[in-house]
Symmetry: C2
Subunit: 368 residues, 2 copies
């Protein structure tokens, strides 16, 4: 049995759902992976940088009652917090900055430098910080994982990392923004754009500012994240031809639906002839029912890959919910701690497991 100290930076809907899921799955984590955990660090805008080496009561965290009787230590910033909470794994779920990926990138940098695994739900950190953060992680023999950033909890990054050795990705397309599709379907049903936005907000699937969804920023960042990680091509958001859904009239949407080729906000990236650059776009497209993305409805998401070894591989996540998103982070956690020997490739395979077996123990003995 190995014990892991967990740190949370950000504790909104996703962070709370993850804490609930960790509690719900704790028996299976013990039985299947010999994983025990305690939350020793919690950082939120409201409460500041809290740490409790002996572990917080998840129930009290979830009920917003961080009992002061337990006198959790307040740190003045992330580095002091990392020293106090001594996390083995940090889950970063702060709100997204579409232009810079900050402060997420700075947080994850500090986390990796402190020797913890860094797991984020923040696609900005992948788009603007992937090279640096992944190099930092490799150098430290730690993992920088972010499975839930693109297709919720459906495996995309781990799919390529763990199951598809040596394939070459030539192109991909995807339905990455459920808010846009909920709005489109609401307007197809004869209601207004604003009603569609409200509908999506009630479903709690929109970005903090829904403009990021309807103006296709969310999908554009996801295209860049996939291009960077899966194709190793540094695609900038500004290089993606981006068109949102504001220009679509209810009339046009209803006609397309009647025609059997409804509109969706579709993201595409294709390797250019030169093989070293990408043609990428996010725009409304009409999709027929035989299209690989043609049966994606409502809040469902999908990605279609064109690979040298397979003509087409489509992953569809149907109606993901908050728990699904949280599961993406939980899966990253388990894969990070059970995959240590693979982080740095073959040469590290001998050291990897040894340090893996020891590090939690030493952390453990010192922290409880």
């Amino acid at each position: 049995m190995k014990h892991y100290n967990l740190g949370f930076i950000g504790f909104g809907n996703v962070g709370r759902a993850l804490a609930r899921l960790l509690v719900a799955k704790s028996a299976e984590l013990r039985q299947l992976y010999e994983i025990e955990w305690s939350i020793t660090g919690l950082a939120t805008r409201g409460m500041g940088w809290l740490s409790r080496p002996e572990g917080f009561q998840p129930s009290s965290l979830l009920s917003n009652v961080v009992d002061e009787s337990s006198c959790p230590a307040h740190s003045i910033g992330i580095n002091e917090w990392l020293l106090e909470a001594r996390p083995d794994v940090v889950f970063e779920t702060t709100s997204l900055n579409h232009e810079t990926g900050q402060p997420s990138i700075d947080y994850l940098t500090a986390v990796l430098k402190s020797g913890s695994h860094a797991i984020t739900a923040n696609k900005g950190a992948v788009v603007y910080g992937y090279e640096e953060l992944s190099q930092l992680a490799a150098g430290a023999g730690k993992c920088f994982y972010f499975e839930s950033t693109v297709l919720d909890s459906a495996p995309v990054f781990s799919l390529f990392r763990e199951t598809l050795p040596g394939v070459k990705l030539r192109a991909f397309s995807g339905v990455f923004n459920s808010t846009s599709n909920v709005i489109i379907e609401t307007m197809e049903a004869g209601r207004s754009f604003d009603e569609g936005v409200r509908m999506a907000q009630e479903l709690r699937i929109t970005e903090t500012d829904p403009a990021h969804d309807v103006d296709a920023w969310d999908a554009t960042l996801k295209v860049c994240a996939l291009a960077k990680v899966l194709m190793k091509l540094p695609l900038k958001p500004s290089e993606v031809r981006r068109e949102g859904i504001r220009s679509l009239s209810a009339q046009r949407l209803q006609a397309a639906r009647a025609e059997g080729k409804p509109y969706k906000l579709v993201a595409r990236a294709k390797l250019a002839e030169n093989g070293s650059s990408l043609n990428a776009s996010v725009k409304p497209e009409q999709l027929g029912s035989t299209d690989p993305l043609g049966n994606v409805r409502g809040t469902s998401l999908a990605v279609h890959f064109e690979l040298d070894m397979m003509p087409g591989l489509t992953i569809t996540s149907h109606r993901p919910n908050l728990q699904s998103t949280a599961y993406g982070l939980l899966a990253d956690f388990v894969n990070a701690v059970r995959d240590k020997s693979k982080v740095q490739g073959p040469t590290s395979k001998v050291q990897g497991p040894k340090s893996k077996i020891q590090s939690p123990k030493s952390k453990n003995s010192s922290s409880r």
Copy 2:
């Protein structure tokens, strides 16, 4: 760099495609995974049990010219062959026996007992031998992998093994037999059942005996393989309600297509109320375009999973070809040799890599 001796049992379409693929991907295998290989054993019904410790010329194998000048050793059976060829990995692609999984199971048993990884394209071995073979593999610290048995090269078994820790599979459905769907679509187009069979045979997607496809044996075995491996439930082919496509008239198929709900041969398995048994069926069903399997066409295959952590996850493999199938075996090979540290869980993680680094060397030094 690590060298692996490879053995082939069976060298038909799939085996040959794999040999071609190994040659085509050899540079990437070296660069990305430090993997070098040579084919030191080849067994076919026609040529018998051949071995050549210094490695066969893949080109000569593919051109059917196993030059006798090189005097490959003839063994009298698999055990002697394993001693002669000393494979680190054996690819088993013999033809399928739907009732027993033999001789595949006996071959794979011998392979694992000899200390090699066992990789098969033979679903019969999974349906009738999974428990024994996987226990044997775990005990030997080797892998028994079979990714290409159900959905061609699309990740299904490795998806759960590597990317979805701790999920519970509650139900799945799938379009697993492309021959049946090609026949159905041919009849929808106004041609006969027999023309459909010939069409499928020209596409080289049928079983040796197409009756196994149209009478739903192929799909039934795939349901049992998924149930055994992913749900740990010992579902027997005889426990699957099985109905083939022979009874479908062209008229009925055309009417269903016109209605927008064409027939497909659909496989289903669902956990029963008691949570310990399955309700499973393979039968023709009408699927609408919004069904998760609704946009599967022609030779494409798909599986839809219902998981405790995700409402629905669909994997669709579009128009897989012979190379795709071969890639499934190649991926198993790479995952087997890079995953050694994970085969037996945490306790083996320290020894795993060490033996992994050494075994090929020792094999290497002795074999060349």
